[in-house]
Symmetry: C2
Subunit: 196 residues, 2 copies
DNA sequence: GAATGTAAGTAGGCGGTGTCAACATGTGTC
DNA sequence: GACACATGTTGACACCGCCTACTTACATTC
């Protein structure tokens, strides 16, 4: 009865422990064998559920994107129509800051080079939502005569860029201060509020 | 005389070959031992010059940042005063697109977690230059009554974000088209030209 | 309810990796 | 010319992802 032959739900346990160690030690120090050790299981057991390490990272990325989409969804649901675009951008950045390592997995080249079908679908769906939100805002009068594709590129670049600048400390210390959140909002508003 | 005991300039050869393989196979497939094999040298020889793999990546990052700074320098030198800020941003993005893998090294978490002194210095110097350029533009009347810190955050996020969106294909296919460069410029100008 | 096919675990091995220690070989300096 | 020192080599260790063959438990079917 103790240490049964079958773990029961090794797949979920692997994912949970992986995300845990991810936020502790970073992507590059995540190993399938260490994961197996942590869960008291043979070193090859994880391969039954994730044939390759990339598959594991891919599954984690799926959970990450789902979490991200959930966060933006609730944020947008609590915002009135015209403010939804702003809520979406801020939710993305906030999510990235509170899930830094998960966010890092999402921009791991090895993951993004061979994304699973479901991950790719989630990403394009999210992108479509961003595009839809832009066109809604334009209908409301925001930057009405601007090329939507340009606005989309700008929105994506700015949100992803801000998230990255916040999570990785590219420019070391200078950026991280208490009133930082205000500056982030102000920065976003340079884009959103210009034609207000 | 053939295959002498001492390589002569192994350090430079390692860096050169590393950058070469980097653009071919990506960061995660760079190995010290493979590098040593390529240069017909024993597997531990690289450790004399780069005690750890992170040190090698760090040195590559230094070369990368120097190259990036050089590119922005010449771009800015060829632009009249008020257009320098725009030239700086576009030079950054262009450099990232033409040196995608080198750019990826610069945002490799393992590199950025323990940056060498010289790399950190280069980065802060570059950041200072961006700040200086912003304040110069503000003196010229551009977004004069805006918080410089917010402008800096926006500039950094937007440039880094655009560079990343272009080099990694986060949203798969939709973004990469021939007239893309025009859209990039238009996107940048949403920020730069707003208060013109 | 036994037989059986399959999913999920184990054991072991292969080739690869980064890193270390001990040793060898040149090079530059007094 | 002796000697310190930088730069190579060799061999080992512990780890890694991944593969194959084997074993165990579960589920389905007759």
């Amino acid at each position: 009865m103790n240490t049964p032959y079958h773990h029961g739900n090794l797949r979920e346990a692997l994912l949970a422990r992986a995300i845990e160690t991810l936020s502790e030690k970073g992507v590059e120090h995540l190993s399938l064998r260490a994961l197996a050790r942590d869960l008291d299981v043979s070193h090859a057991a994880p391969l039954r559920h994730f044939p390759t390490k990339t598959d594991l990272l891919n599954a984690i990325a799926v959970e990450g994107v789902e979490s991200l989409i959930g966060a933006t969804d609730t944020a947008m649901a609590h915002s009135p129509g015209p403010a939804r675009l702003r809520a979406m951008m801020l939710a993305y950045i906030d999510w990235a800051m509170t899930h830094a390592e998960l966010h890092r997995v999402l921009r791991n080249p090895d993951v993004m080079r061979h994304t699973s079908e479901t991950l790719a679908d989630l990403l394009t769906a999210f992108a479509d939502r961003q595009r839809a939100e832009i066109s809604y805002a334009q209908e409301q009068g925001w930057r009405r005569n601007e090329d939507p594709a340009v606005l989309f590129l700008h929105l994506v670049s700015l949100t992803a860029g801000t998230a990255i600048v916040m999570t990785e400390n590219v420019y070391r210390d200078p950026v991280v201060t208490p009133e930082l959140r205000d500056k982030i909002e102000a920065s976003i508003d340079l884009f959103l509020g210009a034609a207000k």
